[in-house]
Symmetry: C2
Subunit: 450 residues, 2 copies
């Protein structure tokens, strides 16, 4: 079986590795535009802020490592065409062009940064961030800069902003919407993260759109709304658009967001699979199609695709978009719907909230923790957000499990959690938030009954 995989990111390479695990004989070729493979793009900001020493550290495997496992990697190679009738792809690498036949094709083309259609985005010193090479260029430019504007206050924007701050730059983050992290956090929880960033010295401007970038060849000033900010560099972190061109060329059905796949990660074209940021998934709560542009989702999809390609049987379940980030000392995470997205989907909710501590209160290093739990009016938990300086990620995972199991806040409030003074409170903040949700639910239902 000849498998060709387009894309050398988490989705593409995990598919390759997993197929090899299940099928020793498959002929596997990965084609990537990128110079590097198997690095962790999520870690780029952490190299910038100095927590990880160098960009080399975040390269986990070389093309040679894959070759040793009998996986061919073509780097810096562009796929130019996909021909499902004759089952081939054509590619170009510099001057060299070629054609490869496939029995199974996997499209893992990821996404490309969205560039706002305004004046000045092509000036020197304006960057988008997607690849390791982007990261290296940004770090290089930043080392000669004094100030930066980051446009977009999603995860990548904030993580990059903090990286630049730690490199010694004066940093402003601008966001069109009235809050930071609008995809994953409600305004009240986002405010806690914003306060931390501002304490660290990042300026945050909300509710203003990027108007233009000006300068003579290189960036000098950024206009957001009515405000003019001097800056030596600009990072456009204004979202990522799925790369669906090749899939469309192959005749694969696409939807509002990206490439359509079934739960086995198959596109509408026989023997073509797709995984990662370029595909649409289903939201586990609303049932609607959505995007899940997370490395962890790509890896899970890759495993499903690989199993099916290798003749086994696997399905990819609807997503809860469990995410976590760490900026400086602050961890924040989210899973399921926010209060805002629930209301947008016509779901009435109550939100249990609790501010507590991560350890027994007398224990040195006990940190404040904020938990917000979103429940529908039957008490079913449909989302959770947590902010604290430690131990957030695993609590998000606990909540991902609770939501996927359809638990109510009342059931969760009765669940048994572990306890020891150096690592937890005798009643976990999650349980306290669930109890608060139960109380609020009671009040709402009593009012209804009146």
């Amino acid at each position: 079986m000849r498998v060709v995989i387009i894309g050398g990111g988490a989705g593409g390479l995990s598919t390759a590795s997993n197929i090899r695990k299940y099928d020793k004989d498959a002929d596997i070729t990965v084609i990537t535009r990128d110079k590097h493979v198997a690095y962790s793009p999520c870690a780029i900001p952490y190299v910038m802020c100095g927590e990880v020493e160098s960009f080399d550290d975040i390269i986990m495997h070389t093309p040679e490592d894959y070759r040793d496992r009998n996986i061919k990697i073509l780097t810096e190679t562009e796929v130019e065409g996909v021909f499902p009738e004759k089952k081939t792809v054509t590619y170009r690498r510099g001057e060299e062009a070629g054609e490869i036949p496939y029995d199974v094709l996997v499209i893992a083309t990821g996404g490309s940064p969205f560039i706002p259609p305004v004046e000045g985005v092509d000036l020197e010193g304006v960057f988008t961030i997607r690849s390791l090479t982007d990261g290296e260029k940004i770090a290089e430019w930043a080392s000669k800069s004094k100030s930066a504007v980051v446009v977009g206050a999603g995860l990548i924007g904030l993580e990059m902003a903090y990286g630049l701050l730690r490199m010694g730059l004066e940093v402003t983050v601008t966001e069109m919407l009235p809050q930071i992290v609008p995809r994953s956090l409600d305004p009240d929880m986002a405010a806690i993260v914003q306060e931390y960033l501002e304490e660290k010295g990042i300026r945050v401007i909300l509710g203003k759109a990027l108007e233009r970038i000006t300068g003579d060849e290189r960036v000098e000033r950024v206009m957001v709304g009515d405000e003019c900010i001097d800056a030596d560099m600009v990072i456009l972190a204004t979202g990522v658009r799925p790369e669906k061109k090749l899939a469309e060329m192959a005749g694969c059905e696409t939807g509002q967001w990206a490439v359509r796949v079934n739960e086995r990660m198959q596109t509408s074209v026989p023997d073509i699979y797709a995984v990662g940021d370029c595909v649409e998934v289903h939201d586990a709560i609303t049932g609607f199609r959505t995007q899940s542009p997370l490395g962890s989702a790509a890896v899970r999809q890759a495993k499903v695709a690989a199993k099916n390609i290798a003749g086994m049987d696997a399905v990819f379940r609807p997503v809860l978009n469990a995410m976590v980030s760490k900026i400086g000392e602050l961890e924040f995470g989210s899973v399921g719907l926010t209060e805002v997205t629930a209301l947008q989907n016509g779901i009435k909710v109550v939100s249990g909230k609790k501010r507590a501590l991560t350890k027994a209160r007398y224990y040195p290093g006990a940190e404040r923790i904020d938990v917000k739990m979103i429940c529908d009016l039957n008490g079913r938990i449909i989302g959770c957000q947590i902010v604290a300086k430690e131990r957030v990620a695993e609590r998000i995972d606990t909540m991902s499990l609770a939501i996927s199991q359809g638990m109510t806040c009342a059931e969760l409030a009765e669940t048994e959690f572990s306890y020891a003074p150096p690592v937890s409170m005798v009643i976990d903040p999650i349980i306290l938030a669930a109890e608060d949700a139960c109380e609020k639910l009671k009040r709402v239902n009593n009012k209804k009954a009146e």
Copy 2:
């Protein structure tokens, strides 16, 4: 309503506080033998090892704090009799004796340390550990000592051993069974913890029973098996026996382990409840009666008792004994059955195992993590043990939830976890252990089919 509560530990005081929350008018009296109330006995070892500064720090409330909430506390007071026919208890405080009527009585008498019936346990320098006063006495004696033997390698024994080590003593832990933490860890996982303790400088002797303690007035030598150890002090951490004397006096039914209660925490005698270490609970996996001598269990039972006493309706569910401890930098935890206890209960199992990391492997501070997941032959998860230098407690909570929801390893392996390089691996060690369990299960079932 007059409520009398016997016992000022986690069970008794949480019951008092919770009743007050639900019933502003109840007349609440707590009677305790102890000098202090509302301290965290679990934290005593952490004061000894210097992580918490003083014993005063772990006292969370004074009797006055309770008085302010209209809860009477009688300290250093011994209940002498319980008379259900006339609904009174009699007590003695030094010379003073009295009788108090009750409408509802709550027995929260906890447990007392078991003292092995051997020669020398009454020598000066031999201690048991239960109360803050015990902790103070041990710390005082230890400050003048050079070496200690801790008998019993359960949680309390090991935590105390580490505390004494940090105070500068030469410490030996002895355990009759062939492994440490026999209640919660399988031998393979216990070995990881033991290795850490030995690295730190604690000597561990397994499979040898305490024969006698010798010395002239004060401890000088300890005989375990055929071995003689010089020591200035001995801590007997050989388990705790439920204090059921008063309950028996009141005519409450008791079982093999302790006081019998129904799921509303009611004893067999009308208007007498019992909570905490003195009661029996049901094991969620085996269905059998067992003990759950954990502060977290006492607090959850207290809430159930208080709600029922206040006229609401609540039940206490069978337990999974979710526990966690931290010794030095090492966290370890367990929930549900171990492989050993499963086999003892006639349950055939497979164990998924994974050694992985707590963060992305290039991230500074990534620590080794070991996960062992026990599944029955239908794949249902019935237990999990985790050892690592960080982020164990919340993973145990995740597993507690998975087990309580009846999840199989296959379902868990498909669950969505969060990911960011500074806080997790792209595939969580729990998922990897679940996948390992699935593989092993397949092999077992294939063998059966042959």
